[in-house]
């Protein structure tokens, strides 16, 4: 199970990148009319988050090479788009990465008014979502009943939503001093997704969830010793959720609270409570992904 760390890192980083894009950049663009000119601060913030998105997806692409035993043959992976979801996953990942980079360059060079940017961003969002869809379909194999359920797709999309919203909120700080603003809604969205993630995990996790699939005998070795990982994941997510709620309750407009000192909050930086909350949720997602791969041991390993 621990041998699958490159896949854990690849899927988590890839999902976080799509989540950040879909939860900050794309909706932000939709909120703006094509003729709106961006303030320098807004452009700066967007560029930082955008750079982070590109960084996550580039890291994901690099980490994916570590699970190949012949990485120098990796350029052949697009050879079977006709029937392999793995080929399609790589195709959409590369498309997402290229489109995000193009859109970044457009904003960086000040081309923020044209419809072309909106078209590029829409195509990026579509490629990102298709990346998640192909990543889910890739594991939903008939030969692997523990993965061949809607929960695989649900958990991947929930990870993207949770990590995307939390990472964006953490990076931007999103102090709730300005109710109604887009940024201040991010932590609320993040808390909703973390709570949903916990609920889905309790109900649907294969083998352990209340209504989760219980695999029967097959020619594949049964999973071992995953119970601690399952409960550890739930504890980490719940810890992150509680801390984030505490941080939000403390953070009244104009005060320090969980978002750090007032100047920091004004500058858009999360404080230590929110940072710990984000780290706990991230660790919870990582534990959940190790659990996911642990459900299907490879024979002979």
């Amino acid at each position: 199970m621990l041998k699958e760390w490159p896949l854990v890192a690849f899927t988590i980083a890839g999902q976080m990148a799509v989540g950040v894009f879909c939860f900050l950049l794309f909706p932000l663009l939709l909120l703006l009319s094509p003729g709106t000119s961006w303030s320098e601060t807004a452009r700066h913030t967007v560029l930082i988050v955008w750079g982070g998105t590109f960084g996550f997806i580039a890291i994901a692409a690099a980490l994916s090479l570590f699970h190949l035993h012949h990485p120098f043959r990796a350029h052949h992976t697009l050879a079977n788009l006709r029937s392999s979801w793995l080929s399609r996953e790589i195709f959409f990942e590369l498309a997402f990465m290229a489109l995000v980079a193009l859109a970044f360059v457009l904003v960086w060079t000040g081309h923020t008014r044209g419809l072309f940017l909106r078209a590029v961003m829409s195509a990026s969002a579509l490629a990102g979502i298709m990346f998640l869809v192909s990543m889910s379909k890739l594991y939903m194999l008939k030969s692997l009943p523990p993965w061949n359920s809607a929960y695989t797709g649900i958990s991947f999309f929930m990870s993207a939503a949770t990590l995307g919203a939390m990472a964006t909120a953490w990076v931007t700080g999103s102090p709730p001093g300005n109710p109604g603003s887009y940024f201040s809604a991010l932590w609320t969205a993040a808390l909703f997704f973390v709570a949903s993630d916990i609920l889905f995990a309790v109900l649907l996790t294969p083998q352990y969830g209340a209504a989760g699939f219980r695999p029967g005998p097959s020619l594949r070795p049964p999973p071992r010793a995953l119970r601690r990982l399952y409960f550890g994941r739930l504890a980490l997510l719940a810890g992150g959720l509680i801390l984030a709620v505490l941080g939000m309750v403390q953070a009244v407009p104009g005060s320090a609270g969980g978002f750090g000192s007032t100047p920091m909050a004004a500058a858009g930086q999360a404080g230590p409570i929110m940072t710990i909350a984000f780290v706990l949720v991230l660790l919870g997602e990582i534990a959940g992904r190790f659990l996911f791969y642990g459900l299907v041991p490879r024979p002979g390993d």
């Binding site: 012949h70 052949h76 029937s83 793995l86 030969s143 005998p217 020619l219």
Partner: protein, 205 residues
Amino acid sequence: MVTQYGFFFNAAACSGCKACQMACKDRNDLEPGVLWRRVYEVTGGGWEKKGGVWVPSVVSYNISMACNHCEKPVCGLACPVKAITKREDGIVFVDTGACIGCRYCEWACPYTALRFDARTNTVSKCNFCYDAIDAGGTPSCVASCPQRALDFGDMAELRKKYGDVRQIFPLPDPAQTEPALIIKPHRDAARAVERAAEVANWEEV
């Protein structure tokens, strides 16, 4: 001309001696831990009360399993680099020169036929001893079985000789891959589910 080679396995005759497994390892010079043919020991049951008497209700049989050179090889469909191909006679091959070692096919195959080979850093699997077949010979597993529990040939011929049973507990639904495999079930296989049978020798396979 053969259009689809396949295996016949007689579970009723197999004693679980693993001569097929070892002959395969020997012929293909496989590393320790890499098994192209494996013998699963399926066991279950215990004791049950019939009237006033406790009687044994044990079920136990063996399944010798390699790549089934499926008519619908899902491993090949899943491979991102098209390193898994099918010959005209139905034998499914791994091209180790093209394989990138992503090991995705290991997950795709419900028979766990594909095994990672650390020597080549690629997956590997049964190649039906194609060179022996091409020379008019016999796959080593078939040749080595002292019980004559294994046979091979064209699937059309095998069906005529042995029928068309392709699944016993705990093999997957054959509709998934259309395996080139005919089985004569052991009598215990019919009671395996009700007696909660399972594979007992995971460490070996």
